[in-house]
């Protein structure tokens, strides 16, 4: 273990950093696209089923295949990997945003409108705060997926902790496989824990204490 760290320590840090930023950018893009889209779908219920079906379909494409599909369009490296992971992150966030917004007590929305809140004010002041815990749950789920699948991104030359794992597989080196897998797991746990904290922070208070 110590020898492993002595040999691969700096490389491990570098790969972990790559892994983290590929995942983070993909997830951020996912949030930027899926949350507004989810809100939009609650306003246009007619097309919501259609959009959700497409998102679900994208989710069913095997990860390896999706990564490979990126190469003709975006070549190899970090960018195609980020795009593929972004596509994966969409569905959980989109679905939870949609369900969370749909689940807000209609009486509250009616009261908000009846008191003279504009549609935008109703979303920002009432619906989003109420739906925040559900949306955050979707984001946490996506984050875990993205970090796990980012390991595959090494396959198209994006770097990250997947490099260790693929090397280990090719060279029959268990220490490299574990040296790549364990940090991925730890990374996923830490990110999930941090997002859990964030979820608690954005969950609106409903009692004084």
């Amino acid at each position: 273990m110590i020898t492993f760290l002595q040999t691969y320590g700096t490389q491990l840090l570098l790969k972990t950093w790559q892994h983290l930023y590929i995942s983070a950018i993909a997830l951020a893009l996912g949030i930027i696209v899926a949350v507004p889209l989810g809100i939009l779908l609650t306003r246009t219920k007619k097309i919501s089923g259609f959009v959700m079906a497409i998102a679900s379909m994208l989710q069913t494409i095997p990860a390896m295949a999706l990564l490979a599909l990126m190469i003709p369009f975006f070549g190899i490296g970090a960018i195609p990997a980020i795009i593929a992971l972004f596509i994966y992150s969409l569905l959980p966030i989109l679905r939870n945003t949609y369900l969370g917004m749909e689940d807000v007590n209609p009486a509250l929305i009616d009261a908000a409108k009846g008191m003279g809140l504009t549609g935008w004010q109703s979303i920002v002041k009432v619906e989003l705060p109420m739906a925040a815990p559900v949306i955050m749950a979707g984001i946490r789920l996506s984050a875990t997926y993205v970090i796990a699948w980012a390991a595959l991104a090494s396959y198209i030359g994006a770097g990250g902790l997947g490099d260790f794992i693929f090397n280990g597989l090719n060279l029959y080196r268990t220490d490299l496989i574990l040296g790549g897998s364990i940090p991925v797991i730890i990374l996923a746990l830490i990110v999930d824990w941090l997002l859990g904290k964030l979820e608690a922070a954005v969950t609106p208070r409903t009692t004084q204490a």
Binding site: L108, A111, K113, M115, G116, V126, M130, P204, T206
Partner: protein, 406 residues
């Protein structure tokens, strides 16, 4: 006119008619209840006032201004809105809930704080509740906040959609008293949707009865009870309530015996005695030629003065108790019973004799009030109460209807 609704129609896609030719004018300070069964269009009509729904045709004018031409958001900020499910924002403190609309109107912070304090005082809750969240209040307290939230921005008109439907009867009554008080004290105009007739009768200045999207009747609570426009209104009021309400809305004119036996002051005592004998009565009312009530003579007077007096005029009792035919039974029965009169002449506005109320009539009234339909347990308690009150003296005339006048 404060609020005018003209020829309102609402047809939903698919042809379902929700509201049909609805016309109503509401004065400032009125408390209007829309009542009807579900699907009667009462909520639909109310929601058109703050443009939560738009009418298919017709106009609504607030202070003479067509609301269809106003910005709906600005309009709604001027109209208080209270719904059944309370609709307090669970993630906002009571203070933020109360000042929700003032905040939208960009009041300065200081003024909003001041307002929140005033409002919580108005509903008699402690000031430190302002920092609590709705979930920390009871249902009744929450709806109190719901009510003042609708007034916080000085709204003159408040719409309420079955606001107390989900509350227990005691809390409901307290809140009804509260809104009634606010209406009377602050001069706010309320449009209140309910399906509870007791609530409507208690709160309204006028009740709008609706069925199938049409107005069945618009009248004061008394008017509705007194003259239900049709069978639907009668059923909505309910037989029990109509019977209970009878003593309070029935006029003396409706229950009195018509054609009372009377004589004139110029008649001799012999004539008077003959008339009493013929009609089997023990007293006579005295009127002049224009049928104006002058007095009364009893058989005792005739007997005592038969030899000394000649005409009715000499011995009649001029200082007699009488009632107006349009006064309410509710107000007169007790007075009649207390004084122990055997019978009371009834006069019209010009003091002309039109009828008589005897103790037999009173028995009928009490009987109808208690057993008008069929007996109920709680009502049988009242029977003892009622009979105890009736003095036994003066029962001499209660045997038969008709001939028992004096």
């Amino acid at each position: 006119m404060f609020l005018t609704m003209e020829h309102l129609n609402k047809t939903y896609p698919g042809g379902k008619v929700a509201v049909e030719d609805f016309n109503l004018e509401i004065e400032k300070g009125e408390f209007i209840c829309f009542i009807g069964t579900s699907g009667s269009g009462k909520t639909t009509t109310m929601r058109m006032i703050n443009r939560m729904l738009s009418q298919t045709s017709g106009t609504i004018k607030l202070n003479g201004e067509d609301i269809g031409k106003m910005d709906p958001v600005k309009l709604r900020r001027k109209i208080g809105y209270v719904i059944q499910n309370i609709g307090l924002m669970p993630h906002m403190t009571i203070r933020d809930n109360i000042t929700l609309v003032p905040k939208l109107l960009k009041w300065p912070q200081e003024k909003m704080n001041q307002r929140a304090k005033e409002m919580i005082k108005l509903v008699e809750l402690p000031e430190d509740y302002l920092d609590r969240y709705p979930s920390e209040l009871s249902g009744g307290q929450q709806q109190r906040i719901g009510v003042v939230r609708a007034l916080a921005a000085n709204q003159d008109l408040v719409l309420m959609d079955e606001p107390f439907g989900a509350l227990d009867p005691i809390t409901r009554e307290a809140l009804q008293d509260l809104v009634k008080d606010l209406q009377e004290r602050l001069g706010k105009t309320f449009v209140f949707v309910t399906h509870d007739m007791d609530e409507a009768l208690k709160l309204s200045t006028r009740i709008v009865v609706m069925d199938g999207g049409k107005i069945m009747q618009v009248d004061t609570p008394d008017g509705i009870l007194r003259h239900p426009a049709n069978e639907f209104v009668e059923n909505l009021i309910g037989k029990d309530r109509l019977i209970q309400a009878r003593p309070s809305i029935t006029t003396v004119g409706q229950v009195m015996l018509k054609n009372p036996i009377s004589t004139t002051p110029g008649k001799s005592l012999t004539d008077a005695l003959r008339l009493m004998h013929e009609k089997r009565v023990d007293s006579l009312l005295v009127t002049d030629e224009a049928n104006i009530l002058k007095g009364m003579i009893g058989i005792e007077d005739v007997d005592y003065n038969f030899n000394s007096a000649t005409s009715v005029d000499d011995i009649m009792n001029r200082d007699i108790f009488y009632v107006q035919s349009n006064s309410l039974i509710r107000d007169t029965v007790e007075r009649i019973l207390k004084r122990g009169f055997k019978n009371i002449p009834v006069v019209d506005d010009e003091h002309r004799l039109v009828g008589i109320v005897t103790r037999a009539t009173l028995v009928d009234i009490v009987y109808d009030a208690l057993w008008g339909d069929e007996e109920e347990d709680e009502e049988s308690d009242n029977i003892h109460h009622g009979t105890d009150k009736t003095p036994v003296s003066g029962a001499s005339q209660t045997d038969a209807k008709g001939g028992d006048q004096g």
